[in-house]
């Protein structure tokens, strides 16, 4: 199964959190309506949809004021070939 696009991930996070918009380049901690539990719910959905990618909660282990969805996506891209 191919990797989702970052836009698809942003849409999934919008659906889970109820946030009006999740911009890939906005710091996650600054997006209204998105909190750590939303990120975990989104991750749970991702794990089910892409079981071949070993993504876990460590994706967000070093989340800080500047971390964006694009940063998280880059980690996912790095993880994907490891299982290929």
């Amino acid at each position: 199964m191919s990797l989702p696009t970052i836009e698809e991930l942003a849409s999934q996070l919008e659906a889970v959190s109820g946030a009006a918009e999740v911009s890939p380049d906005a710091p996650l901690q600054h997006i209204a309506d998105v909190d750590s539990l939303d990120l975990m719910e989104w991750l749970y959905g991702f794990q089910n949809q892409y079981p071949h990618i070993p993504a876990d909660e460590s994706l967000f282990a070093d989340l800080d004021d500047t971390t964006t969805l694009r940063d998280v996506y880059a980690k996912i891209v790095d993880l994907a070939p490891a299982q290929a």
């Binding site: 539990l37 719910e41 794990q47 876990d56």
Partner: protein, 328 residues
């Protein structure tokens, strides 16, 4: 196999109410933040002198009264708790004495899944020894939460719930499922006070006698394993999620519960929840919610009732039963 009916139920919560507004003020956040994060508006907390066993005794006595039994009629007492009266002996010994139980007594520590583990244990016991069993879930997690730990303090509450099981001709349990993943012992833990790390002045100074929670890990695993156990139980029973009349989940966090519902197909209308009033009362949360639902007349004979819990460890379990003819 001998079946059983739940013929008595009861609960006990401390009088002292701790509101989310109070906690919000203590931690410098607003009340909306607390409530939106977990769905809890208030919780109960023990006062000095109230303990896990004292709450258990009160809930147990009410369940016995409801069943029309006394302690002398009880062949087995099971107390599910992760916050025992003291390290030794078991909390059930204290409860046994207070209630005048004539039979055996033991504790179950499966954290917040303790009541479901206890119920399956009781089910097995009654099959080989068809006499009444008293099962109690009781916890006082407000005493294990570090007062400075905002994440845990907003979640936990104290309480106890109890049920009496009596042998019956019909097997009302349609399916059950238990599981554990010992690789997850770090998700929620109390490090000091056991054989691995005996209590010392250093452990006390470091606050290691308080519970520590990794919220993200708990959230992911709670959803993952509870969804799995519910699906497996429904599959074993050959029952569709949409046909469940009542689901009584461990009352941990409304967002975890909603996530479990959405991933299993259980109907939101079937949900029995009271965590807005009591918070996460651990082993007690399912029997407290069950007791309230029964007292309100929500559960009727023939209804399909699904209990599902998860706890630190991780542990999880679910049981599907068709409710017997005993009314509130």
């Amino acid at each position: 196999m001998t079946g059983f009916d739940i013929t008595g139920w009861g609960m006990s919560v401390p009088e002292r109410i701790v509101t989310s507004a109070e906690l919000a003020e203590r931690f410098g956040v607003d009340e909306h933040w607390v409530v939106s994060r977990c769905g809890i508006r208030e919780r109960r907390a023990v006062n000095p002198g109230q303990t896990t066993a004292s709450l258990a005794v009160e809930a147990g006595r009410r369940a016995l009264d409801k069943a029309g039994l006394t302690g002398a009629d009880i062949a087995h007492l099971i107390v599910a708790t992760a916050t025992p009266e003291q390290p030794s002996p078991a909390t059930s010994a204290f409860v046994h004495h207070e209630l005048g139980i004539s039979g055996s007594a033991h504790d179950v520590n499966s954290e917040c899944a303790g009541f479901v583990y206890g119920l399956v244990s009781a089910m097995a016991l009654i099959a080989i020894d068809p006499r009444p069993i008293l099962l109690i879930g009781s916890d006082t997690h407000t005493l294990t939460a570090n007062p400075a730990d905002r994440d845990l303090s907003i979640l936990v509450g104290d309480g106890a719930g109890a049920v009496v099981l009596q042998p019956g001709a019909e097997n009302r349990v349609k399916a059950w499922n238990l599981g554990a993943d010992g690789a997850c012992t770090g998700s929620l833990k109390v490090l000091a006070g056991g054989s691995r790390m005996p209590t010392t002045q250093e452990t006390l100074d470091a606050g290691l006698h308080y519970a520590q929670i990794n919220g993200n890990e708990i959230y992911l695993n709670a959803v993952r394993y509870t969804v799995r156990t519910v699906r497996e139980t429904l599959e074993s029973a050959k029952v569709d999620a949409a046909d469940i009349d009542h689901v009584v989940p461990h009352q941990a966090n409304i967002r975890i519960i909603n996530s479990i519902l959405s991933h299993t197909g259980l109907r939101p209308e079937a949900l029995i929840t009271n965590l807005q009033k009591y918070g996460n009362t651990a082993s007690a949360s399912i029997p407290i919610a069950l007791t309230e639902a029964l007292e309100e007349g929500r559960i009727k004979a023939g209804d399909k009732v699904l209990l599902a819990g998860f706890g630190a460890g991780m542990t999880w379990g679910s049981i599907l039963m068709e409710w017997g003819g005993v009314a509130a």
